[in-house]
Symmetry: C2
Subunit: 339 residues, 2 copies
């Protein structure tokens, strides 16, 4: 940790004076140093290549902030990187807004920053502008992080939850529910034979490979809050189509399934932070699947179902026993503060 005059966050670290400057210059800048950020203006000035631009924002309030497989730092970088990538964009630039609680450990903050630094490098994005606020004890819980981002979308790419058509195949990039269960088991102090790790990961390089296989990806989304069930319901509702999936094809690791069963939670509703769901024309499905599997975050990708012209606006799952059940939109979520 850089040498600094305090062990914990002080109100003055957010007040715009000398202590703010010390926190920014000793703690934050060294992690993200780049030409745009180093200028320390109140805004970054960027040159963007021509084309459509994607713009996204997300605030991360996960509790606990450190969990098996990740922390609030890499989650905040990967989350916005993935939201950009889901439009087919190449993520380029991020902003970071911190809200820190007075008394929060600067050593913990340093660990979060290192994690953000590594995540930004892995995703190939640059943090170009930021803001830090401090609030008093019990006015926030340790640290909240907003990331917003800009990416560039190549010509010919048009991905939207409104674009699904009957016959499309539904692909997912790997096994479900790991992020949510990792946070949940940590929060509840549960332990299982094998530790469940969050799947937090940047998906932009997998998306690049998929688009190289075909620009004809109809819809794509990362099933975070609300899990696969929510994403598929949003797809079905937005495109006014039905979606059918097959329970036996939906990949869930045995230890994750066991933890879900123990806690009475359906893995279809649990947040993922390194998975994507895509709808692609049937004749392109194998090529897209191969592209996904060629990426290290998509090795377990598979086809889990298809888009139908029946049961419009609804998601139906054929169970292992051959029955069909409706996979509804959840009312709330079983797991608060999961991201």
């Amino acid at each position: 940790m850089p040498i600094i005059n305090h062990q914990t966050v002080q109100m003055a670290h957010g007040a715009g004076g000398k202590l703010s400057a010390e926190l920014i210059e000793k703690f934050i800048l060294p992690r993200f140093a780049n030409e745009a950020l180093n200028r320390l203006e109140d805004q970054a000035t960027l040159a963007l290549p021509a084309g459509k631009v994607a713009f996204s924002t997300d605030t991360f309030v996960v509790s606990p902030i450190f969990f098996p497989g990740g922390d609030i730092g890499d989650l905040a970088i990967n989350g916005t990187v993935n939201d950009l990538a889901m439009s087919g964009a190449t993520p380029l630039y991020l902003s970071v807004g911190f809200v820190l609680e007075e008394g929060f450990s600067l050593e913990a903050f340093h660990r979060v920053l290192i994690s953000m630094e590594n995540a930004a490098k892995n995703a190939g994005v640059r943090v170009v502008t930021g803001d830090t606020k401090v609030v008093g004890k019990n006015s926030c819980d340790k640290i909240f992080i907003n990331t917003s981002g800009i990416g560039v979308i190549a010509a010919g790419v048009s991905i939207s939850c409104k674009n699904l058509v009957p016959g499309d195949k539904i692909l997912i990039s790997g096994s479900l529910a790991e992020h949510g269960m990792a946070v949940m088991t940590k929060r509840e102090g549960l332990s299982f034979q094998s530790e469940i790790l969050s799947d937090t990961a940047p998906l932009c390089k997998m998306v690049e490979k998929m688009l190289a296989a075909t620009p004809e990806i109809h819809a794509m989304r990362d099933p975070t809050r609300g899990g696969l069930a929510t994403t598929l319901n949003e797809f079905a509702k937005s495109s006014q189509v039905g979606i059918k999936i097959y329970e036996e094809k939906v990949p869930v690791r045995d230890d994750v399934r066991g933890a879900c069963e123990m806690l009475g939670i359906d893995p279809l509703y649990v947040a993922n932070e390194g998975k994507l769901v895509a709808a692609v024309p049937a004749e392109k499905a194998d090529a897209v699947l191969a592209a996904m599997r060629a990426d290290k975050f998509g090795e377990a990708a598979c086809i889990v179902g298809e888009v139908t012209s029946s049961h419009t606006g609804m998601v139906v799952m054929q169970t292992r026993l051959g029955a069909n059940r409706i996979v509804d939109m959840p009312l709330g979520e079983q797991l608060p503060r999961i991201c």
Copy 2:
């Protein structure tokens, strides 16, 4: 207020399920409706005109959230609009990220949203993407709002805190310390003969007029946290020049000065939310001043000092009595959670 099934924010309003959808569709979307936002993707897809782009972020944690002259809603819109405008950019698109406390009044949230709607209209910007998180009681204080924004910078404009040169005139767009004192008097329950109102305002149209007068604006910033003193110190340090200002020329309204004196606060260090400071070549100063005064938020604009080659990196103020005193960077700030 739209009809909705709850009076206060529930944990499930942030969980990505049906209640989240209700909050977004009934509460938030109607305020900002536009083509990009209505698509309800996890990111907005935008077409930007060619040119350099400005990108900025700010999180607002002001307490209390309603204060004389404004609230956290218009503050959050105007704050990022102004950070963009200070680079000479025309602000175009904003993202909005809410963190809401469980139990926060939905009626109060609705008032904040209406205020954001009006502020966005006044500034000519569109809210194109957003995110809402809910945390438990005492894990945040009512509502925090992050806004991030994108603006386009015209060719030939190059504004930076590194660009000041000796001889430049220092201009400010109006009287100081009103936002900070409005929040402070509300928070402390003080009352004065005349109510002090926050100066929160969008400055983008004034900047347009200034750039029409001359593209040669060297530096520009809105003196928010840390006030005019901090902004000028940042200018002096970044450009390695001295700055001299004249106490008798720095405009502070009598009631604001009185409130500052009563509370032992120096108005030079108090936050403004609708003022800008600019450094311009001496021969352009009158034209820029006239442009500022032609805008409704710059009617009281004036020249308060100049850039010097002496006392490099420092700001000096000549007092009414003719003495010179150093205007240092504040260590912290007298007023926490001012924005």
